[in-house]
């Protein structure tokens, strides 16, 4: 039983990180319909920004983290501005955009591998690494921060989308780009804003993983594809769905270790995904996925 609780707690922590990644990716996918795999690169860049801020510039951890989140948001916007928007202006196919995104992911990951070596680099996290005991469960303070960040990130995003004017503009574009344009919303600006918000919300996930197990160049790919699984499971365009999808995925992966050897952990998620698209392709609460061609 203790083992079960420990695995569930670990699942919750990992799920929080998946959730942050999925919230950002899902917001971008739901609004722009870009299959933005380069989000994985933004996720990884955020971690390297934080690492560089702390280790190379000697900033305090909190400052480095905040700086890294802002820098990641800027990277998201730059990608939209210099890659996706020129492609869209030319009327490129969605596949073309996806391929450019894949190229960018490969480019950035390998650039980081050359600049910082492919080996994991450690950050100093100080007292955050201390263990805490909650009943029979052991976690570190950093793990609690992860759960808190995901909760906060989710609530802040919901509030932003519901109550702020810019958030409402994002929702308008997500539900119908044509209608949004008709009422005078500038689609390009909304896309840029979506990339900034989506990147900023996923950046903490990259940084938190890096603080826990080290900064690595190739981790983003797996995270972004798991995020896409979570988003499809939760339902495209549904923010609570993305959160729920991420948590279910992480809990299954971690509780699965109870019965299945841990080296098969990564296979569990995709087994679940295949099962899901047979049984319920719309996900928990969403609309259907877009075809690659329409």
């Amino acid at each position: 039983m203790d083992l079960f609780l420990q695995l569930a707690a670990t699942g919750l922590v990992v799920g929080s990180l998946y959730a942050l990644c999925a919230l950002g990716w899902g917001l971008i996918y739901g609004t722009t319909l870009h299959f933005h795999v380069a989000h994985g690169a933004v996720f990884t860049l955020a971690a390297y920004f934080a690492y560089a801020g702390q280790k190379l510039l000697g900033l305090p951890l909190a400052v480095a983290v905040i700086g890294a989140i802002l820098a990641a948001a800027a990277c998201g916007m730059l990608i939209d501005l210099f890659i996706y928007q020129p492609l869209e202006r030319r009327g490129a196919l969605r596949t073309t955009l996806f391929i450019a995104s894949l190229g960018l992911l490969t480019l950035i990951e390998n650039l980081l591998a050359i600049l910082f070596t492919p080996d994991p680099l450690r950050m100093d996290v100080g007292w955050l690494a201390d263990a805490v005991q909650i009943g029979p469960v052991f976690l570190t303070r950093l793990h609690l921060v992860s759960v808190a960040s995901a909760t906060l990130g989710f609530l802040a995003l919901m509030a932003f989308l519901r109550y702020s004017l810019s958030g409402r503009a994002i929702r308008a574009v997500a539900s119908s780009p044509e209608m949004a344009r008709t009422v005078g919303i500038d689609l390009r600006r909304v896309h840029l804003l979506t990339y900034a918000v989506g990147s900023a919300i996923s950046a903490p996930a990259g940084i938190l993983v890096a603080m826990d197990v080290g900064v690595e160049p190739y981790r983003g790919t797996t995270f972004v594809l798991l995020a896409s699984v979570a988003v499809i499971m939760g339902g495209i365009g549904s923010i609570p769905g993305a959160l729920l999808g991420a948590l279910v995925l992480a809990l299954l992966e971690n509780l699965g270790v109870w019965k299945i050897p841990s080296e098969w952990q990564s296979s569990i998620s995709f087994g679940v995904f295949l099962f899901f698209i047979v049984v319920r392709p719309r996900g928990f609460f969403g609309r259907k996925v877009q075809s690659a061609e329409i």
Binding site: T96, I99, A100, G103, S266, F270, K288, S291
Partner: protein
């Protein structure tokens, strides 16, 4: 030097088969797969195991490889191609992850990271093909065979339905075509051919391990197709030749190995972005009508 050139040509032949078969999906059906390296690996492992454990040799191994490859692909295609395109990207990535996990963790069968050594060379009419330049002919013969199969397929009625689905899925369905079945069948054919390339590789190198069949490899094969030009049959072959030549040229610059591998990936990534921005139809190839009309 001639052995070096022969090795290069054999690899071009193998990658040409992989790229031609993947282009049946990417170029002619509009289905983007991130699992072609997994299929390639399935072919290599199935063929190697058939040769080592069942004693089937090269030809039997290749048959087994093609069937297992098609079967694995059907397993993923049947659920995910029923629904829309983006699902397949994710599902195929899933297949890639699961298959690699099988190669690495099912140690009783695959020998894990250590891989499978001692795969026999092919035997052609009682003659063992063990010289690199002899293997060039074998690889070239299979590349030509794949080319012929793809060409025949694309020009057949089936191929025209395929391209109709790519251009307008709903219209094709309205014409009474079974869109899902056609897509599943083409995924199986593509995988059977890709697995054949795996078999060719396993019996050439005579040793395989999981690292040759990673996600990076899948992205690389997709890069061959896209940069070569997915609208033309010859595009992927040109892509394979050009992109395999780049790392050979890099060898002339004295770059340490730890930098050379990521450097290669950086070049491929940059080429993908630049081509998508400037010439999305690839080196060969014509702009698709749909793209011009801005759909």
């Amino acid at each position: 030097m001639s052995a070096y050139l022969a090795h290069f040509l054999v690899m071009v032949g193998i990658y040409a088969i992989l790229a031609l078969s993947l282009n049946l999906l990417i170029g002619y059906s509009g289905i983007f797969s991130l699992a072609h390296a997994a299929i390639y690996g399935i072919g290599a492992y199935a063929s190697a195991l058939a040769a080592l454990k069942l004693g089937l040799g090269f030809w039997g191994g290749m048959m087994v490889a093609a069937s297992v490859g098609a079967f694995a692909s059907a397993l993923v295609a049947i659920p995910s191609l029923r629904v829309a395109g983006d699902y397949y990207v994710v599902a195929s990535f899933g297949l890639q992850v699961v298959v690699l996990a099988v190669f690495m963790n099912w140690t009783d069968l695959t020998n894990g990271h250590a891989g499978l050594p001692g795969i026999p060379r092919p035997n052609l009419f009682g003659r063992v093909i063990d010289q690199p330049f002899e293997y060039v002919f074998l690889a070239a013969a299979f590349a030509v065979l794949t080319w012929a199969i793809c060409r025949r397929l694309i020009q057949s009625a089936f191929g025209r339905v395929l391209q109709a689905i790519r251009d307008d899925e709903i219209a094709a369905q309205a014409m009474g075509k079974n869109v899902v079945l056609v897509k599943i069948v083409v995924a199986c054919i593509s995988s059977a051919l890709g697995a054949m390339a795996g078999s060719l590789y396993a019996h050439y190198i005579t040793y395989i391990n999981p690292s040759s069949f990673s996600l990076h490899e899948s992205i690389f094969i997709a890069t061959l197709v896209i940069l070569g030009g997915s609208e033309r049959l010859a595009g992927p072959v040109v892509g394979a030749f050009v992109l395999l030549a780049i790392p050979e040229l890099l060898k002339f610059l004295a770059i340490p190995d730890t930098v050379a591998a990521p450097m290669r990936q950086i070049i491929y990534g940059a080429l993908l972005i630049v081509f998508m921005l400037v010439r999305p139809e690839g080196i060969l190839g014509r702009a698709r009508a749909a793209e011009r009309s801005g759909r």
